[in-house]
């Protein structure tokens, strides 16, 4: 680990910590980025956990049956997207309540994934390789932090950038935001509100599915019932934390992942801080950071898309 004394603080190697937090944050970053798009279109889908776990089994099954992790990530994304479209059918076509439908989706996904997964317990998936970035990986400090990961880590960051560009610079992004801010006005202007929302939901589901597949194919890697263990809920919270902005979602996911990793590092290094306090730290620090951001930008509370969670029915 010889990264030079400057990078070691209180016995903790900050370079290794930064590399760890990027990997640790990837599943929630993927899911949160997807949910950001859905919420920007005005749909509150609380079923992220259900979509993630379906992505986890869908991806795992796809990778094991095909022998290719890439195929697995595709089937994982499709599984998540299908779940999201089920949610979309209920909330956009049958106009059901979004909060309750999202919670039901989580329940349904946890059960269905366990049923599908019955034959996949104890199986090992094909390995997802690291990307060889040659000389970049050997750079001091930056090399180990940035250039020694698998492709999904880079993909998750690229996705954040793409979503930022889409929302801010593209015409489709403008329409998506218009639909999320005021669906009646968007409808009056001739935009197809339901179609836009279904598209946004499918994207959100696919991203959550990818996050789930990353858990079952890279982080664990094995299939076990309930293996997302609440990651979907954290992803939902990260979207709110990021006040519906892509760059802040990235910050939020890395902050949460970073504090989680740091508390375990402090334990491993033998710091005499009560373990329970450390375990609470990621949640408390997320709250504190949100309070600081909100207090500095008083409009933070109004950053939510105005039509978020509201039912749209075109009366004319």
């Amino acid at each position: 680990m010889g990264m030079g004394a400057g990078m070691i603080l209180g016995g903790i190697d900050l370079v290794a910590l930064a590399a760890m937090l990027m990997v640790a944050s990837t599943p929630i970053l993927l899911a949160a980025t997807g949910e950001l798009i859905a919420e920007k279109a005005g749909v509150l889908n609380l079923g992220v956990e259900g979509m993630m776990i379906m992505g986890a089994i869908g991806g795992f099954a796809g990778a094991v049956l095909s022998g290719s992790p890439e195929v697995g990530f595709v089937t994982g994304a499709i599984s998540g997207a299908l779940m999201a479209l089920l949610f979309g059918f209920l909330t956009q076509v049958l106009l059901s309540n979004q909060v309750a439908t999202g919670l039901a989706l989580t329940l349904f996904g946890l059960g269905l994934s366990a049923l599908i997964g019955k034959g996949f317990e104890g199986v090992r998936p094909p390995a997802t390789g690291k990307i060889d970035l040659g000389a970049l990986a050997d750079l001091p400090v930056l090399g180990p932090i940035l250039f020694r990961h698998d492709w999904v880590v880079y993909f998750s960051i690229a996705l954040v950038v793409a979503v930022w560009l889409f929302l801010h610079l593209s015409r489709s992004g403008l329409i998506l935001r218009a639909v999320g801010e005021n669906h009646e006005a968007a409808h009056a202007l001739g935009y197809r509100v339901v179609a836009v929302r279904l598209g946004a939901l499918a994207f959100g589901g696919a991203a959550a599915g990818l996050g789930g597949a990353y858990l079952s194919l890279v982080r664990v890697p094995q299939w076990t019932e309930g293996m997302t263990a609440g990651a979907g809920w954290i992803a939902l919270a990260i979207v709110v934390f990021g006040s519906w902005r892509a760059e802040r979602v990235l910050l939020g996911a890395y902050l949460f992942g970073g504090v989680t990793v740091l508390q375990l590092r402090l334990q491993a290094a033998g710091y005499a801080i009560p373990v329970q306090l450390l375990s609470m730290a990621p949640y408390v620090i997320t709250i504190v950071a949100l309070v600081i951001i909100s207090a500095r930008h008083r409009h933070g509370a109004q950053a939510a898309p105005a039509a978020l969670g509201r039912i749209f029915h075109a009366s004319r």
Partner: protein, 359 residues
Amino acid sequence: MITLVARPAPSRFWAWATPVLAVLATMIAGGVLFAILGKDPVEAIRVIFWDPLFGANAGYFRGQLFIKAGPLILIAAGLAVGFRAGIWNIGAEGQYIVGALCGASVALAAYPAESVLVFPAMVLAGALGGWAWGMIPALLKTRFGASEILVSLMLVYVAQNLLAWAAFGPLKNPQGFGFPGSRNLQQYPSAHNADLVAGSGIHWGVMAGFAALIGTYVLMSRHIAGFRIQIAGDAPKAARFAGVAPARLVAFCLGLSGALAGLAGMFEVAGPSGQITDSFGAGYGFTAIIVAFLGRLNPIGILLAGLLMALTYIGGDMAQLMLQLPAAAIQVFQGMLLFFLLGLDLLTNYTVKWGWARA
């Protein structure tokens, strides 16, 4: 192509008929699922829906229905008020846990003194604990504009850590040989929240659930505060003109739902559960959100939705035991039931017409 036409007023007929239709549809879809898993679908549906209510030993299971539904109803009653105002308390699970911790702490501090004052003091502590945990997101929202969704959700995890700390530390049973978990309050008469009629399943928490339903009904339909809550939810901007102080409304709604969730936790720890353990929080706070919306945020609806959810849990466990259905199949079945209930609710507010229209 299907077109939906909004009804001028919700249909009274369909308001009652859709839940029945949804349950029937679930029986069919669930039956197909069970048949695929190689079980007799008719028998499975009977074990889940019929046996707990009317089968052998139904006298026992009907009581269990109240034990399971009690906390759901009590929490959902409070949540519904906030949801109507557009205030999103997602963290009832945390308020439930903190209420239980506070109630149990009072009892364990008083142990082994027998006094009629112990139980009322626990009730007060449970409500206060839940209220205080609910007031944290309220305060951060009104003072700093921090989203109550995130803060209340994060506080669930903080509460779970507090619970683990208490179960392994200060509340640990001194006669428990170093194992985690508190004394069992069922064995401490002054603190025990027993069935009011033995075997009925109706304890003070269930009574409090009924009282909360009546109380919130009166609040919403007969009181000016209910009117303010309603318009705050329907038309936030108009609410300001009508003199609604958003900060007080946020504090009221989060405080109320927190206090009721705290009470639910306290009654649970003093009664059916009996103990503070690290696994005390069993997800009632999250299920209650489903119950609130399934009941259309309306007291009678919440009562029925709570009992229905409880029935699927109890019947689901029976189906596991009697038919060896995996727990996962029961979860899928519950998910389908919720989808049908939520999706078919459309018929209450809209008429479906066949024809061509731009979507």
